[in-house]
Amino acid sequence: MIGTFKEIIEAAEKKGTRKRVVVPWASRENMRILGKASELNFTVPLLIGKGREVEMLVKSTPLASLDHEIIDEKDSGRALFKAIQMIRENQADILMQGDMDHQMFIDSVLDGEKGLLSAKLASFVSVFQLFKRDKLILITDTYLNNYPSLVEKQLILENALKLARILGISSPKVASLAAIEQVNPAIPSTLDAAVLAKMAERRQFGDVTIEGPLDIDCAVSEKAAARKGVSSIVTGNVDIYLTPDIETGYSLAQLLVFIGKMQMAGILLGTSKPVILDLPFVSNENKLAEIALAALI
């Protein structure tokens, strides 16, 4: 089981295959991180952008002396289109968002006909490294879906379970979060959480335990859960936190980053090949973990 970001990077190194990362409109920072990944020998960057400008940028980073390819394209929209095309035609293994409009990037990547969507729904997972022990936790959805329905939550969870498997988490334990741990028909998140828990109990997700609804104190603390009469193998040992909506997911991930100072790396799931978004609250150092994570998928 992979328990730290360092181990994610080591696992990508050990895999020994250099993944082709295609980046439309790469920034200098993108190139610096890609340089690190190349040095560790798990990627080769394919940079699509204005040829001369890209060359100049590359020269100012360690990438200059490492394998890379530059594909000339004057327009950022066409660069993105080309990058997606390369993934679809198996000329590249990972798509990384360069310096471009977020909505345009997402819309193109998830386009039903010309994009990369392979699951019924795409979703975003934040991977956090715990302080007290070597363990990774997954929180989803923290970026992509606004107010997922029950069906969508099921798909979001299935995407996250695939990632958990890749990280070697066996028999994952899931907390389906809500405001309270009791089922209250006036609070829709508690109903969705209860249904998901029931589905898991009927083995509809395979070897997975889902507890829900769980409030955050029951989820993170076995002692708190015991005080509320909740007894489960999930409490105090959660692998995947499923958030009720984006209002919670987006704030939760950021609170853990900015107040908790917890390291976070994210990945888009539900696409035919891994896609790395350029989230502004992922630190430069953790962007390397994102590339490594993508290389493992």
Binding site: E29, D101, H102, Q103, I106, Y143, L144, N146, L177, A178, A179, I180, A186, I187, S189, D215, I216, D217, C218, V220, S221, K223, A224, A225, R227, K228, T243, P244, D245, I246, E247, T248, G249, Y250, S251, L252, Q254, L255, L256, V257, F258, I259, G260, K261, P280, F281, V282, S283, N284, E285
Partner: protein, 305 residues
């Protein structure tokens, strides 16, 4: 201005004892907190609840309640009504939830506020003490409104602003928290935030400032920028009040004290004084801290209303 829980503890000792109506103290951790708070000189408790159960729990934690004022009542709603009526009549300075559903207490408060004609909405304010931050940060509403609409948000904010004024913050800075980001269209929580900002600027909410930022990322880094390194995070940039879009968000964020190095204190501000609503999972120390907070708020509220 009261900035830390140490300030609160010191002031609670100084300004106590305050009269606290304790609604159904029928759990060990909770009764222990009442006992210790009395010993510390914070409170003079009035225990309201089932005679047998209160006595049993008191014996459990070796709390001699023979000289403590007691009102015997078994019906849960009647307990809530009694304690809340005492608060509004000025017979006690504050009240606290014991082993009783929160909704029962809300119902009593709504009834009393309506009788008093204050027009106040119930909301829960959860304060965090964060190391290295030189002021409290609060989440609200973390307990009452499931999906507050604009009107409810105005009322929720007014309660929180009132609390911060009571704590000595002349013009608290507020952020209307939202999942609004680079993608996903415009969220209702964001639109409400813009409207609230206008309302605050026009003075409708009292002395306060609603800032532009609607996310932690925007507090610390700012739109259009990129977090390079965790070293650049300056915790002092946190505002005083975070208005959350829903009960789910509020409750999930505010109880992260079980996970992070922060301390949490929650209370409901009524027009007549604080009502403490400890979480059922809270332990003695946390409940005691909440009682101390209540004492200080109850003391200072007298000078404001």
């Amino acid at each position: 201005m009261i900035r830390t829980l140490d300030d609160i503890t010191r002031l609670a000792k100084e300004k106590g004892p305050k009269k606290l109506a304790v609604l159904a103290p029928e759990d060990g951790e909770f009764m222990e907190a009442v006992k210790k708070s009395q010993q510390m000189g914070y409170i003079e408790p009035v225990l309201i609840g089932n005679q047998e159960m209160m006595q049993r729990v008191a014996d459990e934690v070796e709390f001699d309640i023979s000289n403590v004022e007691k009102i015997f009542e078994a019906d849960r709603q009647a307990i809530a009504n009694l304690g809340t009526a005492m608060l509004f009549a000025g017979d006690v300075d504050m009240s606290s939830k014991g082993q009783i559903p929160t909704s029962f207490i809300y119902r009593s408060i709504i009834k009393e506020e309506s009788k008093a004609g204050t027009g106040r909405t119930i909301s829960v304010i959860t304060l965090w003490e964060i190391p290295e931050l030189d002021h409290f940060m609060a989440f609200t509403d973390t307990g009452a409104n499931i999906y507050p609409d604009y009107k409810a948000k105005v009322a929720v904010l007014k309660n929180a602003i009132f609390l911060f004024h009571v704590l000595g913050y002349a013009s608290p800075r507020i952020s209307v928290l939202s999942g609004q980001r680079e993608i996903g269209g415009t969220l209702a929580s964001y639109e409400d935030g813009r409207s609230l900002q206008k309302a605050a600027a026009s003075g409708e909410l009292g002395e306060c400032e609603i800032i532009e930022a609607t996310s932690f990322f925007e507090f610390f880094v700012g739109k259009g920028r990129q977090l390079a390194d965790y070293e650049e995070i300056d915790i002092k940039k946190l505002p005083e009040i975070l208005l959350v879009p829903s009960l789910d968000t509020g409750n999930i964020l505010c109880k992260l004290d079980f996970f992070l190095n922060v301390k949490r204190r929650s209370l409901v501000m009524t027009s007549k004084g604080p009502v403490l609503i400890p979480s059922r999972a809270d332990f003695c120390d946390s409940i005691m801290g909440e009682i101390a907070m209540g004492v200080v708020v109850a003391d200072r509220i007298k000078g404001v209303v």
